[in-house]
């Protein structure tokens, strides 16, 4: 596999050059009116550069492909128009874009979401068009955070799944591992084309081993038994009430999650025009499953908490046989107001033996 060497002095020049052909997205520092600072993924304005110091973002970059609120269809309500009340697709910009500095687990997460939105029978056009238009330029995680357990969940600090390029920070330079042709095209557009020498591959492997060890030295999350458990044994297990006790049923875990894909459709009218929106939804909200009849099959919070973990760690695994629908980014662990820790829940599920 080819490795390109990018001198950090040439980084901003190359990024600027790439803007000629790509819309860029990346993590930037955001400061609110009370001077609180966060890093967020957003579209980079001219002259704005992604922060490449391996920062944690509260929200995952999924919104680049799957915005929290997205206009999808529109129609006219003006009955004098021949096409009134006919929904038509909103014209969004799907020109080439690149996400710079996305982490490996987040890129893998998007491949999992893709399984849901791009199937043999159905293709969500909004997701598919955006996903296909995007080049993912990842940044390997040299120093994993305390809540990163990605190696347990089929990803890792240097994982390549879902990425087109993997950048590895090596002091004065980035070593760019070219993973796909799409990635090569981006690097060419940025003018990054100096092939690294033989030692680069070894250097990347060393940094990878070091980062993976940092994660492995912490508590391990077991997933090996999940597949062989029966759905009903886990569903009826006695531990759900205890896990759910502290839950306040907010949507934090699902909104910060890079793999949560559920959405709600809303129509809004203004004057003579109607717009249809696709909004993130959350299985933590009672309204998520409220039927028109008033009946709610998940009316109690334990049922909703169970649904979230069963979907992530069991139903998805059974349906696709592609591991869990958790990539171990640790965002929900970090942000949950009541410290419900998916690492603990996963271990409880994985180790559960029903009483016969």
């Amino acid at each position: 596999m080819k490795v390109i060497k990018i001198d950090k002095k040439e980084w901003t020049g190359g990024i600027d050059k790439s803007r000629e052909k790509y819309l860029l997205f990346g993590p930037v520092k955001d400061k609110d009116v009370t001077n609180k600072e966060h890093y967020i993924f957003k579209k980079l304005a001219a002259g704005e550069f992604p922060v490449m110091e391996g920062v944690d973002t509260v929200l995952s970059p999924k919104s680049v492909i799957f915005p929290q609120t997205e206009k999808i269809l529109k129609s006219s309500l003006d009955q004098s128009q021949p096409d009134h009340h006919i929904m038509k697709r909103v014209e969004n910009d799907y020109s080439s874009r690149a996400v710079i500095g996305i982490r490996s687990f987040d890129a893998k997460a998007l491949t999992l979401v893709n399984l849901n939105f791009d199937t043999k029978d159905y293709q969500d056009p909004y997701w598919c068009d955006a996903y296909k238009a995007t080049t993912f330029v990842g940044l390997a995680v040299n120093k994993p955070s305390d809540v990163d357990f990605s190696t347990s969940m089929g990803s890792g600090p240097f994982g390549e799944e879902g990425l087109d390029v993997l950048l590895v920070d090596n002091g004065e330079e980035f070593l760019a591992k070219v993973i796909t042709d799409k990635g090569k095209t981006f690097l060419d557009a940025a003018g990054f084309n100096k092939t690294a020498d033989e030692s680069a591959v070894k250097k990347i492997e060393d940094l990878k081993a070091q980062a993976e060890k940092t994660i492995a030295d912490k508590a391990k999350v077991g997933t090996d038994n999940l597949k062989n458990k029966t759905v009903l044994d886990l569903y009826e297990a006695p531990f759900w009430d205890d896990i759910a006790f502290s839950c306040i049923n907010c949507g934090t875990c699902t909104f910060v999650c890079p793999t949560c894909w559920c959405f709600d459709i809303q129509d809004e009218t203004k004057g003579k025009s109607c717009t249809r929106f696709k909004n993130w939804d959350s299985c933590m909200f009672p309204l998520f499953t409220l039927h028109g009849s008033g009946h709610n099959p998940r009316g109690v919070k334990t049922q909703r908490v169970r649904q979230r973990f069963m979907h992530k760690l069991k139903y998805f695994l059974d349906k696709y046989d592609k591991g869990t629908m958790c990539v171990g980014c640790g965002r929900c662990v970090q942000s949950c107001p009541v410290n419900i820790d998916i690492r603990e829940v996963c271990n409880i599920m994985n180790n559960y033996e029903p009483k016969k």
């Binding site: 049923n249 907010c250 909104f255 959350s282 309204l287 009541v338 410290n339």
Partner: protein, 283 residues
């Protein structure tokens, strides 16, 4: 081990053993630094999970709403005031509760652990106002010269500056509703933003809809908010939502001489009529 933690466990264990309560609600240690989690002990063995430290930032009154059991609850000053609210608003009866009061010297700021969080720095009710037993001697209450200096600064802004400040405060809201759901006051069976037949508020990231949620929620807490800070402790985006509730707390104090949750015999000012009301419009 911390003596307060020790004492809490001892009291909790005793009331469970004596059968005075079915459960005790307190805090357990979190799995990451500077966190705790609300925890319910049903057996004397489980009380060993209780801890007390500078990170017990949520409000446990949120966990007793509408419960039918006999409940032991660990309450710092603000939790106790919300318990009073709950009793006044008929969300729980006094007889159901065994309140283990914990004098509080303030909780740590989640980003600057050496400092007190904002609401604790101006708190004047650190000792529980209602309890069955105290886990320690009361602490000295703080004397704050100007507890609402922050609100006054906003009041002093001109109209445009004020509005852009409000917009700025809410620009990062993701509508996860953690603020609402962590709040003991927010117990409506269906929140107005969740009304679906018909729907009252748009559901997307439209800023007017986001502002509608926050402003209305704040007004709904007028005269009831204890400034416990659970909303901000819960917010994943670090939004200063108390900017809104604090203005209403200041108004409650100035207009009605009222601080929420101090007396189980008194109803909140917006919930009652008083012939001596200081405002002319109501007479």
């Amino acid at each position: 081990m911390d003596s307060l933690t020790q004492k809490i466990r001892e009291i909790a264990s005793n009331i469970l053993k004596e059968g005075r309560v079915d459960m005790v609600i307190g805090f357990a240690k979190g799995t990451i630094p500077m966190t705790t989690k609300p925890y319910m002990a049903r057996t004397p063995e489980q009380v060993e999970n209780f801890i007390w430290d500078k990170n017990c930032t949520l409000n446990l009154a949120n966990y007793i709403t509408g419960r039918k059991e006999k409940i032991g609850i660990i309450a710092k000053g603000c939790d106790s005031r919300n318990i009073v609210n709950h009793i006044v608003e008929n969300k729980i009866s006094r007889d159901q509760l065994y309140i283990i009061g914990v004098p509080c010297s303030g909780m740590a700021d989640k980003h600057n652990p050496d400092e007190l969080r904002d609401n604790c720095a101006t708190c004047t009710h650190r000792n529980p106002v209602i309890f069955d037993v105290m886990a320690a001697e009361p602490v000295e209450e703080q004397k704050i010269d100007d507890p609402f200096a922050d609100v006054k600064a906003v009041e002093a802004m001109d109209k445009d500056a004020k509005w852009s400040y409000f917009e700025g405060l809410l620009q990062n809201c993701i509508r996860c509703y953690a603020c609402r759901n962590a709040c003991p006051l927010c117990y409506c069976p269906t929140c107005f933003v969740d009304e679906s037949g018909p729907q009252w508020v748009g559901k997307g990231q439209n800023k007017t809809d986001i502002q509608t949620f926050h402003f209305l929620r704040a007004f709904h807490c007028a005269g009831r908010c204890t400034d416990c800070g659970a909303c901000e402790a819960a917010c994943p985006m670090d939004i200063h939502v108390r900017a809104f509730t604090r203005k209403l707390n200041k108004d409650s104090l100035e207009l009605f001489g009222w601080e929420a949750g101090l007396d189980i015999t008194k109803r909140p000012p917006l919930d009652t009529f008083n012939p001596d009301d200081p405002n002319d419009f109501i007479k």
